[in-house]
Symmetry: C2
Subunit: 236 residues, 2 copies
């Protein structure tokens, strides 16, 4: 039988997935955290995920290795320059070069396999339809379609159980996400967002992800604990 | 723009996927073959896939490494014994221990990412609803749900194109698949089916996959080119 209180939580080490882990824990789930070493240029997020999983008492934390560089197609896994200082309309108008083809589908598929092994009925993912930065696989209709497919793909579907893709952040702004996490005691100092950190792991402050992070803390009215590479230009 | 004549073809090195590659080629597609090194005990299928991709002139052949042993859950990726000499009713009644959780979903997701990078509108997979050996992710309703999700997941969906999951074998018996492949000039001597080959790569002759293969050649009325470990008990 499926244990309804087990959940697989996709954990990138950023603000969103860390908040999702806190939410899943607050709902009483035993959390199985899953990260991916997919050839990303910002590996420091994996170290962050490891620390977060330990401090927030995930039952287990696994890092699935899958080198997506073999298929290419994204600035996040290549030497292509990560865009900097884009305006909000530039971010929302088109799919950016940092989009990794089918990434959420790949991550959710691996999570689905693990959920099936664990007999977990819930997979939590920190996708966000508002600050989604133009990625097609962050939209609610995509998540619903994945859930439907997942219930046909697995033993659970055959045996009449239901697997849920849980997206507690999908309608929140970055500021609301941060407020929610702070209520639940999240220490955002542990999290990493930057797509293009330097070799010491310092955030660039200018990529889409840094900009959304800064704006989030600003709008939430709380100090941004992030160490940025340059100090002269805070709060974009 | 998407080139409608490019296809990603999932190629395991067995009868089904090799036949699918022949079908895709016969329809005029430039074929991008994709295999997975997922920690399977039957690695000899990857060498077979490599040879098949070359002989059948795939444009490229990539082997995506992803070690599914980290999540476990299947006899195909563990030391659990592979079941032998099961009857047809045993094979179709329940999901066997050789089922790898969410495997087709994981494979199709990686293929989806590659298709997006290549601007390919078609992904071919050799699933089969008749000889499906009890796997939930071989059913037509599952494939339709994956296709629907895929069109919401990617740039293609956003840009109004359509991605197709092509399953030309889904309603064929193993014998019909073999007949189709022979018509298209497939040399099945190159293919590997066994879940539990010995160290020299010889097929066991008794796992579900060997049994379906033997039955297929028998019913197609053509000699089975496979070298089995034991010779005394052919045609199960």
């Amino acid at each position: 039988m499926t244990d309804t209180k087990k959940a697989v939580v996709l954990l990138s080490g950023g603000i969103d997935s860390t908040t999702v882990l806190a939410i899943a824990k607050s709902e009483g789930y035993t959390c199985y955290a899953m990260s991916f070493d997919y050839g990303q240029r910002h590996k420091s997020e994996l170290e962050a995920a490891n620390v977060i999983a330990q401090i927030m008492e995930a039952e287990t934390h696994i890092i699935q290795k899958l080198d997506l560089r073999i298929i290419g197609g994204s600035a996040l896994i290549s030497e292509t320059e990560v865009p900097k200082d884009r305006s909000e309309s530039e971010m929302s108008d088109s799919i950016p070069v940092t989009y990794v083809p089918a990434r959420n589908t790949i991550f959710l598929s691996h999570a689905l396999g693990w959920a099936e092994v664990l007999n977990a009925n819930d997979i939590f993912i920190g996708v966000n339809a508002l600050d989604y930065s133009g990625y097609p696989d962050c939209r609610p209709e995509y998540i619903k379609a994945f859930e439907r497919m997942a219930n046909l793909a697995t033993r659970a579907g055959v045996e009449g159980q239901h697997l849920n893709i849980r997206t507690p952040l999908i309608e929140l702004t970055k500021a609301q996400i941060i407020q929610k996490g702070l209520e639940l005691g999240v220490d955002y100092n542990m999290t990493r967002s930057c797509y293009d950190p330097d070799s010491a792991g310092l955030a660039c402050g200018h990529c889409d992800s840094c900009q959304l992070r800064r704006k989030g803390f600003h709008e939430a009215g709380v100090p941004d604990p992030t160490l940025y590479k340059e100090n002269g230009d805070d709060d974009g």
